[in-house]
Subunit: 303 residues, 2 copies
């Protein structure tokens, strides 16, 4: 098996791209796909400071390394969720790598920011774990980006994440979520940073292989609170279908991106943004979901 | 466990309807759901002759019995596909039941109609087995309905069939199929019978239980040509999701029906019907797909 690009011994097959690649050419391939994604969606320019959310997992660690290789202005941020050993190990991976590479990293501790770590937060709300945790992370990321003048927040969400998310949104026909699902979420409001996902065309397997080929450290533990996450079920269902009909999940997600504007976005009613009466951040309600969790109103007013 | 309806000993749980039912009340429940489906979609009136496609499986055998119980004007039709023992056994079940009940049944033999049984037909076309077989069945059913003045053709497609079909259409974003997917397909043309699916709210399991409770004979073999059918993969994927989140497939299919007009049907370009230059049946091409299989044009003309 020869590398399609350089004719050396190939190590990996990419049936979707009809090629076999050696270690070096595979790494270049992943880097190029990332660059193409950034350009295709005008995610950010070379001179724009990008805030990269680094969990310590294979995706964000790989993206961190690739954005540095591509010469982007990256500042990493790790949010310590306070979920026992899982969070301790994840944080260590990110901190050690930043120190070794001499790359800027800010760590935010959820408990210090809100008074509650994620396990404690779950006692304040009826939301499922991943929903509450996602909300807290998004809020803190956006607040940090805003305070420190980062116009863009990047995350390591990949094709498998997005396809699973899409399947979940379709099964529940969440039209508003469908309309918004994209590799790029523009800044709809002066207090909302743009969100981008440069790995939206790459799979879990591809990124894992990239991280291994590149000797990148990463935390490979699954969050203990996500054991019952529906997203894992959606990934399993898609894996089953992908095995029977290779290409299924790529087609599902990438074709959705082509038709979304016409199908779901055209039906989206424009919801005006308000500013949260407590924290001033953008929200579609009187108070934002973050403040409703951490600063609940004692007695709900009768409206 | 008491029957929610009559307080006798219950035999079956229906969590979605928040009830437990005894054998008799379960049978009544299935019959009532069928009647409600017929009325909800104005499938047919009491005095309209209905042509019912009876494969010999649990769904069509149950629907046959229920439509008779409801006092509808049913004429059954069985299409002998010529797929070895599977077809022989299926035909026997339908013929014996018709004889025992003294109900009208017409049998059409695909080989006698076209010159080819289904296994032979598959050598004439590149279509997957279920696609070619479905096409032949739909054509022959419609032609028979037309020739014998049946305005409506009913089939036993159930909720699991439709949810699996919907998932397949969504994964491939087949917008035109999505726009058409419905418990009722109106007659778009004078030569097209209306198609209806009175079991669209009932699951495989519910109908199987109904057939068993009602001592209905049915052929429980899986078509040997459908072993690799994608629809089976879609059913498996949905079963996995249903197990983790009960109600998933109901919500997915029944909510789709509520939003389809707004989401997919509104984007459907109106394709004008032509009449096939060989057989005169409605088609969107110059010749219909049926004639293209069985009466291919030797040399394709250069257009």
């Amino acid at each position: 098996m020869k590398c399609t690009a350089c004719k050396k011994e190939a190590l990996i097959k990419l049936p979707r791209h009809n090629s076999t690649l050696c270690q070096e050419c595979f790494q270049k391939f992943i880097q190029k796909q990332t660059l193409l994604a950034i350009k295709r969606y005008h995610m950010f320019a070379k001179d724009e400071p990008v805030l990269l959310a680094v969990s310590g997992g294979k995706d964000s660690m790989s993206l961190w390394q690739i954005l540095h290789l591509l010469g982007d202005q990256v500042h990493a941020i790790h949010i310590d969720l306070g979920i026992g050993d899982f969070s301790r190990n994840s944080r260590l991976v990110a901190e050690e790598f930043a120190r070794n590479q001499n790359w800027p990293l800010t760590v935010i501790d959820v408990k210090m920011e809100t008074g509650y770590n994620i396990p404690e937060t779950l006692k304040l709300t009826h939301r499922p774990a991943c929903s509450a945790c996602g909300l807290v992370k998004r809020y803190l990321l956006n607040r940090y980006a805003l305070a420190n003048h980062f116009p863009v927040v990047a995350t390591g969400h990949n094709l498998d994440d997005e396809a699973a998310n899409l399947l979940g949104n379709i099964l529940r026909w969440r039209e508003d979520y469908l309309a918004h699902q994209s590799p790029i979420l523009p800044s709809f409001h002066a207090k909302l940073a743009k969100k981008v996902k440069p790995f939206y065309t790459l799979t879990d397997d591809e990124i894992r292989t990239y991280a291994q080929f590149s000797d990148l450290p990463f935390c490979d533990e699954i969050c203990p609170l996500s054991q019952r996450a529906k997203s894992l079920d959606y990934k399993k269902a898609l894996a089953l279908l992908e095995k029977q009909s290779p290409g299924t999940k790529h087609y599902f997600w990438l074709t959705f991106l082509e038709i979304n504007e016409r199908i779901f976005q055209s039906h989206r009613p424009a919801v005006p943004f308000l500013e949260c009466t407590r924290c001033g951040m953008p929200t579609t309600q009187e108070r934002c979901a973050f403040c409703n969790i951490f600063y609940p109103i004692e007695q709900k007013e009768n409206l």
